[in-house]
Symmetry: C2
Subunit: 239 residues, 2 copies
């Protein structure tokens, strides 16, 4: 077997041959999802199970496990006996993802505003400062990680840790959209500012303000869809 070829960049863990004996499936899932979100695997691109396995240094079996989860997420489309493809962006799927995310995260932030304590707010503040640093460096990769962490904090603070995994799967679709937005660097300061507004409302134990600020922030990405579609028409579904 060929040695695993590290996946360049990205937020994925380091290597499928991890220390322990845990299965490689979850790692491969995270790695492939990251590549799809970053558009290193372009919408519509064909994925060969065999080639992916060769590239990542594993057999088809764990690759298929990862692709199965990605199919559940609607990030890849598997056509039996034909091929596996990176899903093109479907406005309907994006809308669904937005709906799910808004419902979950806005509900969570209300609870979080009630439960927020000093320690949690300190963690959020630390994350916000890191976001500002990443913004100054125009380090989109780092900022994306911090963005995920920020929204995860909101979910976890509600006391329901199972919310984040669900939210994350919906968020993938929206993250991919944002990645394709060429003017994204311009928006980084705006988004950090929006995060700070949400965090302040949470710290002030003001559920209404927190929900309103978060909802407004979440909808910002969605407004970019038409422009992105104009720039990358081939990345979208045909209909």
């Amino acid at each position: 077997m060929a040695e695993p070829i590290p996946i360049r960049g990205g937020n994925a863990p380091d290597n499928p041959r991890r220390a322990g004996r845990a299965s490689a499936g979850p790692y491969l899932y995270a790695a492939l999802r990251d590549q799809i979100v970053r558009a290193e695997l372009a919408p519509g691109e064909r994925l060969s199970e065999a080639e992916l396995g060769e590239r990542l240094g594993v057999s088809r079996t764990p690759i298929r496990e990862a692709l199965g989860r990605l199919r559940d997420d609607r990030l890849v489309e598997v056509r039996p006996q034909i091929g596996t493809f990176v899903a093109r962006i479907s406005p309907a799927a994006v809308s669904d993802a937005q709906f799910i995310r808004e419902a979950l995260e806005c509900t969570a932030v209300r609870v979080s505003a009630e439960l927020a304590d000093v320690e949690s707010m300190a963690q959020m503040e630390e994350n916000l400062r890191a976001q500002e640093r990443a913004t100054d460096r125009i380090d989109i990769d780092a900022w994306q990680l911090l963005d995920d962490t920020f929204h995860r904090q909101i979910c976890d603070l509600s006391g329901h840790p199972a919310v984040w995994p669900v939210n994350e799967r919906a968020k993938s679709h929206l993250n991919r959209l944002r990645r394709l937005s060429l003017s994204m660097p311009d928006y980084l300061p705006t988004m950090v500012e929006a995060h700070r507004t949400v965090a302040e409302a949470v710290g002030n134990h003001d559920p209404d303000a927190a929900e309103a600020a978060l909802r407004e922030h979440l909808r910002a990405v969605l407004r970019e869809v038409p422009r992105i579609r104009e720039q990358h028409p081939d990345y979208f579904e045909e209909p």
Copy 2:
């Protein structure tokens, strides 16, 4: 290979060897999940991949695909090199499922109340009548199917078809709880009545009333947890 042994009862499709050449994974997932929800596979019970494959007439490969999804759902626990077990009921997981379900379904019902048209309301009414018939027969299996359909209608009516699959996965945990509630037959008429209240509010295009009625209905199951735990302490996590 041994011929597949049909799964007794339940809501699962008929046979893994379906007409087409679609993969058996989704079928097996639905079948096993149904058995878990119905507690035919009891919480804590050990599942052998090999034995499941033999019983269902397939090899370990598609069985593992189904178990992987069930693990994502937290309905089974896979301990590498040790075994796979039906997850015991975790009050935390139940609480998380309830949170997710409330957030999604209550948000959906608000939109549905705005979008409801004559045809959709007729479908709901038809479902409600079927629920009443199932209640008269005390046919819990049939009622459970109709309950899923009713809540699915609420989700789909919002115009976001991707909501239901997510909601369904959370609902599984709550369905399993309800299954264990020995006094469930007593509650059937109450629940049908609650459904009707929700449907009426939706038909009246009254989002506030619809959300309030649905939220109250959804929380009914949760109130049973302590009693169920008393009746089946071995079905719950130890901590």
